[in-house]
Amino acid sequence: MLDLYIWFYTGVALVILGSLATAIGPGVKDPIVRTLNTEIAAVGVSLIFLTYNHTIALVTYIAATTIITMILLRAIVRLEEVGAEL
């Protein structure tokens, strides 16, 4: 049986690394890279919810984070098509 703390601290490490990667990671001048880096932090938050048994919150969070990624990618693509400097 794996220790419960493993999941929690893996989640903590993923959240902090993911948010650092989003803020100052390599290649974040490109907004698409930045958006994809937020997914690492999102997986970490999912693991933390899993440790706390927040089932409904976890399911809703997975759906919401997918929709947020879609909204951000749509904004990036539309702004690029308009020709705004990103």
Binding site: A23, V28, V45, I56
Partner: protein, 226 residues
């Protein structure tokens, strides 16, 4: 931890032992996000970083570790979603106005001119809304809202009548009142708890389902009007 903090007995010891690390993780993540925003000159990159600040907020709420946390995470998610949607719409419309160029509402690399999108939307939307009404509450509202959104987006090529959205916004407000009345009945007339439960469940169902109306109101200027 000092003894001055009152922890109820129902909270499991493992949640109590994880409380301090979780709070600090949330604070660190929020701080990283805010520092990133403060060094950012580009609006779009700042918008992506607000997502990270939202994650910090979610961890702070989750650290409570009881049903209360679960009940607080759901509205937090909806608020974060609405906020990112609204700000991205503002950014896009500002740039479009500045450049004076028009682009598709949803730019896609492939053409979505599929048979399914012209024949199936009504059927799919009816099934999703009926299943959402059966579930009721927050989850049902989300499913029914997905049905409404799917219907609207697949019809958007043909044009959505603009005054429907005012009606949807009004119905959403009435549903919100139903939800509040349900809560009031819980406290004032506890013997009618079943009525109160159903008022609250279906009020929040209609309210969440018509969150799609938010997207509709934003897109009203961009959809072709009939």
């Amino acid at each position: 931890m000092s003894a001055s903090v009152l922890v109820p007995n129902v909270v499991s010891p493992i949640v109590v032992s994880l409380y301090i690390p979780a709070i600090f993780t949330g604070l660190i993540v929020g701080l990283i996000g805010l520092l990133g925003i403060s060094y950012q000159k580009n609006d779009l990159n700042a918008l992506i970083l607000t997502d990270i600040v939202g994650l910090g907020m979610l961890i702070l709420v989750a650290a409570v570790g009881t049903d209360l946390a679960e009940a607080l995470i759901l509205p937090g998610l909806v608020v974060e979603l609405a906020e990112i949607l609204a700000i991205s719409e503002i950014l896009m419309s500002r740039e479009i106005r500045k450049k004076g160029k028009n682009v598709d509402l949803i730019p896609l690399p492939v053409s979505l001119d599929m048979e399914v999108l012209t024949t199936a939307p009504t059927f799919m939307a009816v099934i999703l809304i009926a299943y959402g009404a059966f579930l009721s509450g927050f989850t049902g509202g989300a499913i029914a809202g997905a049905g409404i959104l799917f219907y609207v987006l697949s019809k958007s090529a043909r044009g959505v009548p603009s005054d429907i959205w005012e009606g949807i916004a009004g119905a959403s407000g009435i549903a919100w009142c139903l939800w509040l009345v349900g809560f009031l009945v819980f406290f004032v007339f506890p013997q009618f708890w079943l009525l109160a439960l159903f008022l609250a469940a279906f009020g929040v169902f209609i309210k969440v389902a018509y969150k799609a109306g938010l997207i509709g109101v934003i897109g009203r200027e961009e959809f072709k009007k009939e």
